[in-house]
Symmetry: C2
DNA sequence: AATGGAAAGTTATGTAATAACATTATTGAA
DNA sequence: TTCAATAATGTTATTACATAACTTTCCATT
């Protein structure tokens, strides 16, 4: 990710703004198609319009993709222009659907250390834990 | 996962055996459809035949699903009847496609500790690191 | 042999993502 | 301002991934 791409004050285009708004107002991760459904009233008609917006929002660090769900969530640092930690992890509640994004120093250093010892060069990671959140069990 | 499902000496059905064989003979993870393609010569015709076999193999702990790739790999403990560690992680090479399954005590305890502190009850996890393996960089 | 449950077969459909190409907006330098 | 370059958008079609619903076959047990 480039510096420019990390800047959170980049102007969003119309579609990017629409998609981000939908994600921000959702309490759960949304699939691209369910985002599309919510935006048909705003003139969006095709999956690509959503996927292209998501691509830019991902590059800009404003949303995350949950690989194990084929779904997207806003990044908890999306506002504020914070520097985003390197390794992001998610706790995903199978009951209420809520997602807790977190950054754990120990998880990160353990993965980095393991990579170093096996000669692996990390470029991206997907760390997704499924289960029940505190409210649901 | 039940005890019975963990037993590795369970007899496999014809389709389960075919699917497992294909995965074992592949140096890379395979999608369900590419498994199907390789088994058309053996009479398989429909995706469901593969997905059903995969479902059983996953339950039995003989293969893993890579969520970030929509693909499947044999479990490195598939033979041997070993007890499978709780938390499994993968280093996936973006150049040669090879997957390194590993079980890291520090990663596991960090995730468990974080879950405990946030009141989250872990049921499953997907930990997939993408990058370049030692051979490729 | 009868039967009950698991596996397999088959067709259709649902969901996720991208290809290919045409058009419109924006930007930035001459 | 004008024009070229780049980015974004729109549109249609297609590919890839996964499951629903229902039928038939297989096989262990009575």
């Amino acid at each position: 990710m480039t510096q420019a791409a990390q800047a959170h004050d980049l102007k969003l285009t119309k579609n990017q703004h629409l998609v981000l708004s939908v994600l921000e107002s959702s309490r759960q991760p949304l699939s691209a198609y369910s985002i599309l459904d919510r935006l048909r009233g705003h003139g969006l008609k095709a999956p690509l319009q959503v996927y292209r917006a998501l691509e830019k929002l991902l590059e800009a660090g404003r949303v995350h993709r949950l690989e194990s769900m084929n779904a997207f969530v806003v990044c908890c640092h999306s506002r504020h222009g914070q520097i985003h930690p390197r390794i992001t992890a998610f706790e995903i509640c199978e009951s209420c659907g809520k997602v807790n994004e977190f950054h754990d120093e120990k998880v990160e250093s353990a993965l980095i250390q393991h990579a170093r010892s096996s000669g692996f060069k990390i470029r991206a990671s997907a760390i997704e834990v499924h289960g029940l959140c505190a409210d649901c069990h």
